[in-house]
Protein backbone atom coordinates (compact mmCIF):
# COMPACT_ATOMS: atom_id res chain seq x y z
CA UNK A 1 0.00 0.00 0.00
CA UNK A 2 0.99 3.61 -0.44
CA UNK A 3 1.40 5.79 2.60
CA UNK A 4 2.69 9.28 3.21
CA UNK A 5 5.30 8.85 5.93
CA UNK A 6 6.87 11.97 7.39
CA UNK A 7 5.78 13.90 4.34
CA UNK A 8 7.17 11.43 1.78
CA UNK A 9 4.99 9.12 -0.28
CA UNK A 10 6.18 5.55 0.15
CA UNK A 11 5.04 2.16 -1.04
CA UNK A 12 5.28 -0.31 1.82
CA UNK A 13 5.26 -4.06 1.31
CA UNK A 14 2.49 -4.63 3.80
CA UNK A 15 -1.07 -5.64 3.01
CA UNK A 16 -2.32 -4.30 6.28
CA UNK A 17 -0.65 -3.37 9.50
CA UNK A 18 -1.05 -1.64 12.78
CA UNK A 19 0.94 1.49 13.46
CA UNK A 20 3.25 -0.56 15.70
CA UNK A 21 3.85 -3.05 12.88
CA UNK A 22 4.56 -0.21 10.48
CA UNK A 23 7.17 1.21 12.88
CA UNK A 24 8.82 -2.21 13.05
CA UNK A 25 8.70 -2.46 9.25
CA UNK A 26 10.44 0.93 9.08
CA UNK A 27 13.07 -0.42 11.50
CA UNK A 28 12.39 2.38 13.92
CA UNK A 29 14.69 2.04 16.90
CA UNK A 30 13.06 2.33 20.32
CA UNK A 31 9.47 2.51 19.00
CA UNK A 32 8.22 2.95 22.55
CA UNK A 33 9.96 6.35 22.49
CA UNK A 34 8.21 7.46 19.32
CA UNK A 35 5.13 9.67 19.07
CA UNK A 36 2.82 9.15 16.11
CA UNK A 37 0.36 11.39 14.32
CA UNK A 38 -2.09 9.44 12.18
CA UNK A 39 -3.99 11.43 9.56
CA UNK A 40 -3.53 14.52 11.67
CA UNK A 41 -4.59 12.88 14.92
CA UNK A 42 -2.09 12.39 17.72
CA UNK A 43 -2.15 8.78 18.90
CA UNK A 44 -1.77 7.61 22.45
CA UNK A 45 0.98 5.01 22.82
CA UNK A 46 -1.56 2.22 23.41
CA UNK A 47 -3.22 3.04 20.08
CA UNK A 48 -0.06 2.10 18.18
CA UNK A 49 -1.07 -1.54 18.64
CA UNK A 50 -4.67 -1.08 17.60
CA UNK A 51 -4.90 1.59 14.89
CA UNK A 52 -4.59 0.00 11.46
CA UNK A 53 -3.09 1.89 8.56
CA UNK A 54 -4.61 1.77 5.12
CA UNK A 55 -3.74 2.92 1.65
CA UNK A 56 -3.40 6.70 1.42
CA UNK A 57 -2.94 7.32 5.14
CA UNK A 58 -0.58 10.00 6.39
CA UNK A 59 1.75 8.97 9.20
CA UNK A 60 4.15 11.25 11.03
CA UNK A 61 6.46 10.00 13.71
CA UNK A 62 8.98 11.72 15.97
CA UNK A 63 11.19 10.63 18.80
CA UNK A 64 10.52 11.77 22.32
CA UNK A 65 12.90 14.60 23.12
CA UNK A 66 14.17 15.19 26.59
CA UNK A 67 17.26 15.41 28.71
CA UNK A 68 18.92 17.72 31.10
CA UNK A 69 22.12 18.67 32.76
CA UNK A 70 21.75 16.22 35.63
CA UNK A 71 24.17 13.32 35.75
Amino acid sequence: MKLVINGQEETVELQEATVAELLRYKKVEMPEMVSVEYNGRFLRQAEHETVRVKDGDRIEFLYFMGGGMAG
Binding site: E60, Y63, F64, G66, M69
Partner: protein, 134 residues
Protein backbone atom coordinates in the same frame (compact mmCIF):
# COMPACT_ATOMS: atom_id res chain seq x y z
CA UNK B 1 29.85 18.98 10.60
CA UNK B 2 26.82 21.20 11.04
CA UNK B 3 26.74 24.75 9.79
CA UNK B 4 24.76 27.19 11.90
CA UNK B 5 23.92 30.66 10.75
CA UNK B 6 25.22 33.38 13.05
CA UNK B 7 21.71 34.68 13.74
CA UNK B 8 20.59 31.20 14.79
CA UNK B 9 23.55 30.81 17.14
CA UNK B 10 22.84 34.22 18.68
CA UNK B 11 19.16 33.37 19.06
CA UNK B 12 19.96 30.11 20.85
CA UNK B 13 22.13 31.99 23.34
CA UNK B 14 19.52 34.71 23.85
CA UNK B 15 16.86 32.06 24.51
CA UNK B 16 19.11 30.18 26.93
CA UNK B 17 19.78 33.40 28.88
CA UNK B 18 16.14 34.45 28.84
CA UNK B 19 14.96 31.09 30.19
CA UNK B 20 17.73 30.74 32.76
CA UNK B 21 17.74 29.33 35.42
CA UNK B 22 15.33 26.97 33.61
CA UNK B 23 16.62 24.92 30.72
CA UNK B 24 15.71 26.34 27.31
CA UNK B 25 15.12 24.04 24.38
CA UNK B 26 14.10 23.93 20.75
CA UNK B 27 14.72 22.56 17.31
CA UNK B 28 16.96 23.76 14.51
CA UNK B 29 15.61 23.25 11.02
CA UNK B 30 17.79 23.36 7.99
CA UNK B 31 18.84 22.03 4.65
CA UNK B 32 22.11 20.97 3.04
CA UNK B 33 23.77 20.58 6.43
CA UNK B 34 23.03 24.15 7.50
CA UNK B 35 20.67 25.23 10.29
CA UNK B 36 18.56 28.12 9.06
CA UNK B 37 15.59 28.29 11.37
CA UNK B 38 15.29 28.13 15.15
CA UNK B 39 12.02 26.80 16.51
CA UNK B 40 11.74 27.48 20.26
CA UNK B 41 9.95 24.75 22.16
CA UNK B 42 8.22 24.74 25.51
CA UNK B 43 10.17 22.98 28.21
CA UNK B 44 7.22 21.14 29.70
CA UNK B 45 9.38 20.12 32.66
CA UNK B 46 9.94 23.80 33.59
CA UNK B 47 13.06 22.73 35.39
CA UNK B 48 16.61 24.03 35.82
CA UNK B 49 17.88 20.46 35.40
CA UNK B 50 15.57 18.78 32.89
CA UNK B 51 13.73 19.42 29.67
CA UNK B 52 11.23 17.60 27.53
CA UNK B 53 9.02 18.48 24.60
CA UNK B 54 5.26 18.08 24.28
CA UNK B 55 4.65 15.67 21.38
CA UNK B 56 1.87 17.77 19.89
CA UNK B 57 4.21 20.78 19.78
CA UNK B 58 6.86 18.59 18.17
CA UNK B 59 4.51 17.78 15.30
CA UNK B 60 3.76 21.48 14.87
CA UNK B 61 7.51 22.14 14.65
CA UNK B 62 7.90 19.36 12.09
CA UNK B 63 5.25 20.97 9.90
CA UNK B 64 6.66 24.46 10.39
CA UNK B 65 10.03 23.22 9.16
CA UNK B 66 8.53 21.33 6.25
CA UNK B 67 6.43 24.31 5.18
CA UNK B 68 9.65 26.34 5.04
CA UNK B 69 11.27 23.72 2.83
CA UNK B 70 13.46 22.55 5.70
CA UNK B 71 13.68 19.55 7.97
CA UNK B 72 14.42 19.15 11.65
CA UNK B 73 18.15 18.49 11.85
CA UNK B 74 19.11 19.35 15.41
CA UNK B 75 17.63 19.71 18.85
CA UNK B 76 19.16 22.03 21.38
CA UNK B 77 18.85 22.66 25.06
CA UNK B 78 20.72 24.74 27.59
CA UNK B 79 22.76 23.73 30.59
CA UNK B 80 22.45 26.83 32.77
CA UNK B 81 25.23 25.84 35.18
CA UNK B 82 27.08 22.83 33.79
CA UNK B 83 29.39 22.31 30.80
CA UNK B 84 28.37 21.81 27.18
CA UNK B 85 28.62 18.06 27.28
CA UNK B 86 25.97 15.39 27.11
CA UNK B 87 24.97 14.45 30.62
CA UNK B 88 24.05 10.92 31.60
CA UNK B 89 20.40 11.88 31.25
CA UNK B 90 21.00 13.46 27.83
CA UNK B 91 22.61 10.23 26.64
CA UNK B 92 19.90 8.04 28.13
CA UNK B 93 17.16 10.01 26.36
CA UNK B 94 18.88 10.60 23.00
CA UNK B 95 16.95 8.12 20.89
CA UNK B 96 16.93 9.71 17.46
CA UNK B 97 19.87 8.41 15.41
CA UNK B 98 19.43 11.12 12.79
CA UNK B 99 19.38 14.11 15.13
CA UNK B 100 22.26 16.33 16.15
CA UNK B 101 22.06 17.22 19.83
CA UNK B 102 23.28 20.71 20.66
CA UNK B 103 23.99 21.95 24.15
CA UNK B 104 24.34 25.61 25.08
CA UNK B 105 26.26 26.03 28.31
CA UNK B 106 25.95 29.20 30.36
CA UNK B 107 28.36 27.98 33.01
CA UNK B 108 31.11 30.39 32.01
CA UNK B 109 30.93 34.10 31.25
CA UNK B 110 31.08 33.30 27.54
CA UNK B 111 28.41 30.79 26.43
CA UNK B 112 29.73 27.58 24.89
CA UNK B 113 27.88 25.59 22.21
CA UNK B 114 28.75 22.05 21.23
CA UNK B 115 27.01 19.45 19.11
CA UNK B 116 26.85 15.67 19.31
CA UNK B 117 25.48 12.74 17.39
CA UNK B 118 24.69 9.40 18.94
CA UNK B 119 26.61 6.42 17.62
CA UNK B 120 26.09 3.06 19.28
CA UNK B 121 24.53 4.84 22.25
CA UNK B 122 27.59 7.02 22.76
CA UNK B 123 27.87 10.74 21.96
CA UNK B 124 30.31 11.69 19.23
CA UNK B 125 31.10 15.37 18.84
CA UNK B 126 29.90 17.09 15.69
CA UNK B 127 31.87 20.12 14.62
CA UNK B 128 29.78 23.29 14.45
CA UNK B 129 30.68 25.96 11.91
CA UNK B 130 29.11 29.35 12.34
CA UNK B 131 28.20 30.85 8.98
CA UNK B 132 27.22 34.33 7.92
CA UNK B 133 23.55 34.96 7.32
CA UNK B 134 22.71 34.66 3.66
Amino acid sequence: MLKIRQSIRDAMIRLAIAESPMEACGYLAGIDGEARLLIPMTNVDQSPEHFSFAPEEQFNALKQARNAGLRLIAVFHSHPSTPARMSAEDIRLAHDPDMIYIIVSLMDAEPVIRGFRMEQKQPVEVMLEITEDG
